[in-house]
Amino acid sequence: MRSEIKPDGDFVKQWIAIRTVEAELDRSILSLIDKHRKGAKLDEAGLLRSLIRLSQDPEDANGSD
């Protein structure tokens, strides 16, 4: 059974933390989402760039800029 996200609190932070532990989603992608968020804000252009880089070089799991 999947862990529950509490109805109150920081949803985005909880979601990333729980899904990373569960390992049902692609961890390198979760890691990129986490890397490009500041609180609940997302650096969309940065995440897109990193995802494309990851697709071209799967070894570069961190999608370093």
Binding site: P7, D8, D10, F11, V12, R19, A40, E44, L47, L54
Partner: protein, 811 residues
């Protein structure tokens, strides 16, 4: 945990407040709730804005209007004068101040433990009238966003939208790569006559070609490159083969300079469409208004379905003569026709742009090949063709520039440029075709001679195929690898985004479930007087992104979606219920609420229900209430005497709100008596008594003769009230005696006769006696604990509706 978390709020240099404005919440030594009365434009909303900024560092409703942090300081505030300071009752929080930094307007400087405060209060504490009204007119997705604001999950919805935008961009990129791969596969298939493109098939086909020229099989791109060089050497060794190869390339280059079929027709129809759009009565720029008119039509139709007429323009507020709905429908219809014309022109523009491919690459090939075959082609008109192509290219450039202009920006000059470009092209095409035809004829004749040697023809054909295949296969390998990588990442990201949306929806549903019981309770208190309405339930639509609908029970039947059936006021009740329930549940450690003019949207009879709701369900909360309804404010002060009161008298542009301590109506009357102004006191006492007696008669279930003229109603109200008290409590009851005493008071009779049109003066002593006698009654008919009027219990007593204790019984 403190019952009332705030002791004092100070706002300086912020929005409408210039001089520091201090709002103490303390009465005696205890922090209390606070009500601020002020007419519109006296600066009340600056307080809510200041709180929102202090809590979240932004002001959402201003951002919606395009006003950012630079609009937060008062126009005359100097650097360092814009701040909000809160003194908390909780010693751990103490005093916290947030200063606006003019150099970094989005990064205010905080002193004190603001992070701790925000951790204790993670949920919005404030709500404005406009937050409730927005709820009425929005689409399903927008309602979801409005609920997100009321329930404090805006950030997770914003994150969801951001993830979806990234997914869309990734999908677009994937689509482009798929198109590129398809094109390369199609070219490669045509080149090698393949049915499917993969490394094995490509190598097999190429090895068959190479074998014809005794070149051994290859197994990789590298080996193929080497084999192609061997083949090139074979071609170069035979001058005839080299010439044939060059001539075939020349023929291909000449064919490449042919203008596409249909270019002339496309240019003509584009010009006609552009001219037609220019002749429209309306400017294409007006198309920006289409969304506005569509929303306007939705709103007006919605109102008409509810039986509401809209006589004023919802944008400018000015009266509209005629049927506004018909007018907006006609305007929208005209704009939609204009949009169709614009869209047709845009489609044609894009089609034509695609036909205007540059000819320069073919010119360059012609130039290079000409040098290779010069001895054979000395007399051929290649130079003329190249020179003429330069002229044609200039014309095409002119047309390309004109086609860059989007339909909204097309001017008469642009249309003229298109027309002259088309004319030039028509003139140039004849010469171009003649030169192409002559050159193709000469080239083909020479090719036919060389192709009489079939082995030579085969060698040149295979050589061309191998070179093309090598180039296409190399590109295909790179792009195909990129595609596979992107498909994998896209799939993984899509699953993550879907999971986020699913989790967020579950989370929101849990929030709904958590607060739903309270939402029902609060909604039913607010709508207590609406017969048959209740049981509101929020439902998420799982198959739609960010869609939520409301269901209510109407006369026992579930109504879904309820937005179509509820009035604006009922929807506002629902919105307020959701906000209050969410604030209660999601800020359990910070029980503070700001309600900014929220009763505006409620009918007058429903406004007291807000007081009832606050008293019944939020007695453990501290409330900052802002209102411009003085009657309602007086009702609040009677029912909640412990609240601190302020009045914003006016707004001084050079300083801010002019504030005075608020007093109850009776205290104001006593002040006038003390200042020896009995006539003024009498004028205030009349409406005050009338309002009090109307409420009392309702609570006591008194039957009063209806008076449509609304004149001199005090006497019959008190008379019938006296009869009711005598019948239910008896003539020995002290309430009956107190009522009789007031009834017999000459001052009261003077007020009855003259308060609406005073002719004879009333004395100070008479006024004093009336006030004292009214106070004696008020003390008996009001619950001492709950401060509300008692209600007839339907049998023989009078009970407090709040604490349910019987306070009056027959003597």
């Amino acid at each position: 945990m403190q019952m009332a978390p705030i002791k004092q709020l100070v706002v300086g240099g912020f929005r409408g407040v210039l001089s520091p404005l201090t709002l103490p919440f303390v009465k005696g030594k205890t922090p209390r709730s606070l009500v601020i009365y002020g007419r519109n434009g006296t600066g009340k909303s600056s307080i809510t804005d200041a709180w929102e900024w202090f809590h979240t560092e932004k002001i959402v409703h201003l951002a919606r209007e395009g006003a950012g942090p630079s609009s937060y300081p008062h126009v005359s505030a100097q650097a360092g004068e814009t701040y909000v300071e809160v003194q908390f009752a909780n010693d751990d929080l103490g005093k916290i101040r947030l200063d606006f930094d003019p150099k970094r307007i989005t990064m205010p400087a905080a002193s004190g433990n603001i992070a701790n405060f925000r951790a204790i209060a993670p949920h919005p504490c404030h709500i404005r009238f406009e937050d409730l009204t927005r709820f009425v007119y929005l689409t399903k997705a927008d309602k979801y966003d409005a609920l997100a604001q009321l329930m404090g999950f805006t950030t997770q919805v914003d994150f969801q939208k951001a993830l979806k935008r990234v997914l869309r961009s990734l999908s677009d990129r994937l689509e482009t790569l798929e198109r590129d791969v398809d094109q390369l596969e199609s070219d490669l298939s045509a080149c090698l006559s393949l049915t499917a493109v993969d490394d094995k098939s490509v190598l097999k086909s190429l090895n068959q070609l190479l074998a014809r020229h005794s070149i051994g099989p290859v197994a990789s791109t590298e080996e193929l490159r080497s084999a192609s060089k061997t083949l090139t050497t074979l071609v170069e060794k035979d001058p005839g083969s080299q010439e044939l190869s060059d001539l075939r390339a020349l023929r291909k280059a000449i064919e490449g300079t042919q203008l596409p079929d249909g270019l002339g027709r496309n240019l003509l129809s584009y010009i006609k469409l552009a001219e037609a759009l220019k002749q429209e009565e309306r400017d294409a720029v007006d198309l920006l208004l289409v969304n506005l008119y569509e929303q306007g039509l939705d709103v007006l139709t919605h109102r008409r379905e509810q039986g509401l007429e809209t006589k004023n323009c919802p944008l400018c507020g000015k009266p509209f003569e005629g049927d506004l709905l018909d007018h907006i429908s006609a305007e929208l219809s005209s704009l939609q026709e204009l949009k169709q014309s614009r869209d047709a022109l845009e489609k044609k523009r894009r089609q034509t742009q695609k036909l205007l491919m540059p000819l320069s690459a073919f010119s360059k090939s012609l130039q290079d090949l000409w040098q290779e075959i010069e001895p054979v082609a000395k007399q051929w008109p290649i130079a003329s063709l190249i020179a003429h192509l330069d002229e044609v290219e200039k014309t095409l450039d002119q047309l390309r520039d004109a086609l860059q202009v989007e339909p909204e920006n097309i001017t008469t000059e642009v249309v003229k440029l298109m027309q002259s470009g088309r004319q030039s092209l028509l003139l140039q095409v004849g010469k171009l075709e003649t030169l192409q035809k002559e050159l193709l004829h000469q080239t083909t004749e020479r090719v036919q001679i060389l192709e009489q040697d079939t082995s030579r023809a085969q060698l040149v054909t295979d050589h061309t195929k191998v070179l093309s295949a090598l180039e296409l296969w190399g590109r295909w390998t790179v792009v195909h690898t990129q595609l596979i990588g992107l498909q994998k990442v896209h799939r993984g990201f899509q699953i993550a985004v879907d999971d986020y949306i699913h989790s967020s929806t579950d989370n929101v549903q849990k929030r709904f479930d958590t607060v739903s019981s309270d939402v029902q309770t609060y909604f039913e208190i607010l709508e207590e007087r609406t017969e048959g309405l209740g049981q509101p339930v929020l439902k998420l639509l799982p198959d739609q992104d960010r869609a939520v609908v409301l269901q209510v029970e109407f006369r026992g039947e579930p109504v879904y979606p309820a937005y179509r059936y509820l009035s604006e006021s009922q929807l506002n009740s629902f919105g307020l219920a959701v906000f209050l329930a969410s604030a209660k549940h999601f800020n359990p450690d910070f029980r503070f609420l700001i309600l900014d003019d929220v009763i505006n949207s409620f009918d007058v009879y429903k406004r007291p229900q807000v007081i009832t709701l606050l008293k019944q369900e939020f007695s453990d909360h501290q409330v900052l209430l802002l209102t411009h309804d003085s009657v309602w404010c007086d009702q609040l002060s009677e029912k909640c005497p412990s609240w601190v009161q302020y009045r914003f008298i006016r707004l001084e542009p050079g300083s801010g709100p002019v504030v005075m301590e608020g007093v109850s109506p009776l205290e104001e009357i006593e002040r006038l008596i003390n200042e020896d102004k009995p006539v003024s006191a009498g004028r205030d006492m009349g409406p005050f008594l009338e309002r009090q007696l109307q409420q009392l008669c309702e609570s006591f279930g008194v039957m009063v003769k209806y008076n449509q003229r609304n004149e001199y109603t005090l006497d019959p109200l008190l008379d019938r009230f006296c009869v009711r008290v005598r019948r239910k409590l008896g003539t020995n009851h002290k309430l009956y005696k107190a009522v009789k005493a007031l009834q017999e008071e000459s001052g009261f009779r003077n007020i009855c006769a003259h308060w609406k049109d005073p002719e004879s003066p009333i004395t100070m002593q008479e006024m004093l006696a009336v006030v004292e006698k009214w106070k004696a009654i008020d003390e008996l008919v009001r619950c001492k604990r709950c401060h509300v009027f008692l209600q007839y219990d339907g049998r023989s007593g009078f009970v407090c509706s709040s604490c349910n204790i019987t306070r009056l019984q027959k003597a």
